[in-house]
């Protein structure tokens, strides 16, 4: 009774449906602070753990290692380096993108952690691990306290 060879469930007796639900996420205590700084001041913030003596980016309200409550906010600047990257050629539905998009993990000198974001104003052949980049913000009237208030990071040199 093997169905091994059927890869499309529509080829057997089936029932169609979805899991319809809408979501609204609060940004949380630390998240709200982080995104408000991006929106209002174009600053990227971290949170300092006084016990472990590290600055965590993006900030959290607690240190996951020692469980201290974090209340000291630190501006880590808008410049960082590419820790690793990938080039996406398909979208979430598996369709081919017109232009490939570079996604990178950007780390900051003053903080541990980092941000996942797009890399712009460069070509897929030119992007490199270790490259210095800086955040390019949307104009302030377009910002909504969202990660997309940063358009992308671009190479500094």
């Amino acid at each position: 009774m093997s169905l091994d060879k059927i890869t499309n469930p529509l080829h057997i007796r089936h029932w169609l449906g979805d899991m319809e639900a809408d979501y609204i996420y609060t940004l949380g205590i630390a998240g709200e602070h982080f995104f408000k700084e991006i929106k209002e001041n174009g600053r990227i913030m971290g949170a300092k753990c006084p016990r472990c003596n590290v600055v965590i980016v993006p900030p959290r309200m607690y240190c996951e290692k020692c469980f201290a409550k974090l209340e000291e906010w630190v501006d880590v600047g808008t410049k960082g380096t590419i820790h690793t990257f990938t080039v996406a050629t398909i979208d979430v539905d598996g369709k081919k993108l017109k232009e490939p998009v570079i996604f990178a993990l950007v780390k900051f000198e003053r903080g541990c952690g980092g941000l996942i974001h797009k890399i712009g104003e460069t070509k897929t052949k030119e992007v490199k691990i270790g490259m210095n980049v800086e955040a390019v913000f949307k104009p302030s009237f377009e910002r909504k306290a969202s990660i997309n208030d940063i358009k992308y990071f671009k190479p500094t040199e």
């Binding site: 809408d22 979501y23 609204i24 940004l27």
Partner: protein
């Protein structure tokens, strides 16, 4: 809360805080779609509904006649070993008069919903379905009901091939 603890954490929000944009949020609507395989037993069950029949599976060890049918007896943990048609009549085991739609929106005309113990199946082999052609105040526990089927050409092999169950009027002598 322990009387030793003085500070209770949590910052309450009102729904207006969301609506009026006083709290920054992110929104998302997942796009996943599903095609659930009907499987062996329910596949057969749906096929029979299309023909206007209700089929059960049977276990020769415990003797149960089971609806909805399954390919294994969960009590004996052995494969079921037979199929048997049951009647499209039964009795109301329990019921509700629902003013709620699936998304929790309110309905003016209630949905009448019941668990129906089908005739010919083992005890407590209930099927959940709707009731029709009956006033909400006339429904009773133990009431005899019968399936009202969609016309043959409209049946597709779905639980909704049965439109609803309606009371069987006692024959007047």
């Amino acid at each position: 809360m322990s009387e030793k603890i003085k500070d209770y954490r949590g910052e309450a929000l009102k729904s207006a805080d969301f609506k009026e944009g006083r709290v920054p949020t992110e929104k998302c609507r997942p796009k996943a779609k599903f095609a659930w395989s009907a499987g062996i037993a329910i596949g057969r069950f749906l096929e029979e509904l299309k023909k206007g029949k209700i089929i059960a599976s049977t276990c020769s060890k415990c003797g149960r006649i089971m609806v909805p049918p399954r390919i294994y007896c969960e009590n004996c943990f052995k494969p079921t070993d037979g199929w048997k048609y049951v009647k499209d009549t039964g009795t109301i085991n329990t019921y509700s008069v629902s003013y709620l739609a699936a998304d929790a929106s309110r309905l003016k005309e209630p949905i009448l919903v019941a668990i129906i113990d089908l005739d010919g199946a083992s005890k407590n082999m209930g099927l959940i379905h709707k009731l029709g052609e009956v006033d909400k105040d006339e429904i009773k526990f133990g009431m005899k009901v019968k399936a009202v089927w969609k016309p043959k050409e409209e049946r597709v092999g779905a639980i909704t091939d049965i439109k609803y169950f309606k009371p069987i009027k006692e024959a007047t002598p």
